[in-house]
Subunit: 314 residues, 2 copies
């Protein structure tokens, strides 16, 4: 039996293996992804984002426990910034979530953010498909919520949760570009800290001003103290409300089309560039081009035009 | 006279116009960029990054004043996260830098971070070329330092400065993935605040552990209080030291090749995808593909393979 077939039967080791192959960009992984794709679309994808230190992982941990209590299987994808330093911090998070490590109904994987050519959202989509295909009811995607890459990742979630803490005050701006516009739910964690009400009021005011949120969904604001389990029920309720909203009318269909479009474009972009670059590298022309560019003997725009003329059919 | 010729003569309005065309992705802009490219490479590109609120703009302001006092012309590129909310904050920064607005030796432009297809680093490279070609001695590129896009932008700088503040403590991790590895200089701004020595010690320790920095350059740590002008001289000295280092041996040549390679790849990737997408959109096939994907009638990997087979020559 191939990897895909084993994954579709819920085989954890097969899933782990395909995920590793996707991460390592093993070419044959695509053949397996093709086979599982038609069987995806059942899992509910929950995005959780927030700066380091806001308690995302503790919150994720409590959510996992709550979903498990409902008998749901949960896949977790943690997107790690690739940095030797943050590596350590992230490791701590992973360990915190290890309370679920022995639970066969929970599958946790972290995904490194690679270089620009790697395509973070492409890999994330593939990982979500694998978790989905292996029968996870919920797929929790956790990111630090910065950069266009992560915005793209966040967009793939059915419900997108932004976690913040009191006293971010003026620094709500620290929640990065594009994230605010996508958020369906804001969690003010560590709500026992001074300023929680103020932060909630600030957020509500900005929502009133229509500064962000999708046109047909006003983001919900939930106060929580994840470490003591406070607010988790309210958060679950907010998620359920958003899920009901999605299920109504055209909203989910639109979301699915947008997801499909974004994923297709990402794979197209990556594959085109990969294929053309392979050719340039194999023939030794890439190094030649770069030497000429560094010497200002030509310009990148003209070189690209030439390459396109050569490689693209009309 | 065309835009390019006017820019090469230092015409500010021509430069502003081409920058706007680049930003709006006007196709003819590429023809002008081709003409100026051979005349670029004289400006020294200084990258400044740090989270919102660390005082980047104040620091930039003081640096501009110092460079101006040396008679150097300074171009400033401020990369803005595209968010209605941060929009406001950024505007404040811009206003702070407006002390130089009437100085003909200073040219300030902000650049919005667009969607993923826009190609932030592609636009930034073009803007740097324009400022370079119009005769700016220094080009200062200011970013908030998050995400792969901005890491790419930061990499184009000759000297990359990361600004932080005391008490980021554990949150030095907030300085994002990839940025630490690139930094040539760390500035601990607001150094009158409690914890400045601790932050400096933490940074130094991490440098000692070899956690980041390029192999042949140990990053310098500078304490500053930008608002009072304290530490600016030390920062300028640190920049000069790194510049001397770059000028020695193969370092600069390597940097230029890496820059050329990154820029070429970025333009290639973007143009390939743009051209192929145009075709799919014009024929109405894109919508068809997306509908099929959303319905799970096919998978994106197979569709992309088909498109590549159709459009790519061997």
């Amino acid at each position: 039996m191939g990897l895909a077939e084993r994954i579709l039967q819920g085989d954890v080791r097969a899933a782990a293996r395909l995920m590793k192959e996707v991460d390592d960009q093993v070419p044959s992984a695509v053949q397996e992804l093709k086979k599982i794709y038609p069987h995806t679309g059942r899992a509910y994808v929950l995005g959780i984002t927030g700066s380091p230190g806001v308690g995302k992982s503790t919150l994720a941990d409590k959510l996992i426990a709550a979903f498990r209590a409902e008998g749901k299987k949960v896949g977790v994808l943690a997107i790690d910034p690739t940095s030797p330093f943050t590596g350590g911090a992230i490791l701590g998070d992973r360990i915190r979530m290890q309370t679920h490590a022995t639970d066969p109904g929970v599958f946790i994987r972290s995904l490194a953010t690679r270089g620009a050519m790697g395509g973070l959202s492409k890999s994330t989509n593939a990982m979500v498909h694998i978790l989905d295909a292996m029968g996870m009811d919920i797929v929790l995607v956790e990111t630090v919520g910065v950069g266009q890459d992560e915005v793209d990742v966040f967009k793939t979630a059915h419900t997108a949760v932004v976690v913040t803490v009191p006293g971010m005050g003026d620094d709500v701006q620290a929640i990065k570009a594009g994230i605010l516009e996508i958020a369906h739910i804001f969690v003010i964690n560590k709500a026992d800290r001074e300023g929680a009400d103020r932060t909630a009021a600030d957020l509500t005011m900005m929502l009133d001003l229509g500064h962000y949120g999708e046109r047909d969904w006003r983001p919900l604001v939930v106060k929580a103290e994840a470490i003591r389990g406070v607010g988790i029920e309210e958060l679950l309720e907010a998620i359920a409300r958003h899920r009901t909203h999605l299920d109504r009318g055209e909203v989910l269909a639109t979301h699915l089309r947008e997801r499909a479009r974004a994923e297709f474009l990402e794979i197209l972009k990556d594959s085109l560039a990969g294929r053309v670059l392979e050719g340039l590298e194999a023939s030794g022309r890439l190094e030649q081009i770069i030497a000429q560019l560094a010497a200002k003997e030509t310009d990148p725009y003209s070189v690209v035009e030439g390459v396109l003329k050569e490689r693209l059919r009309d």
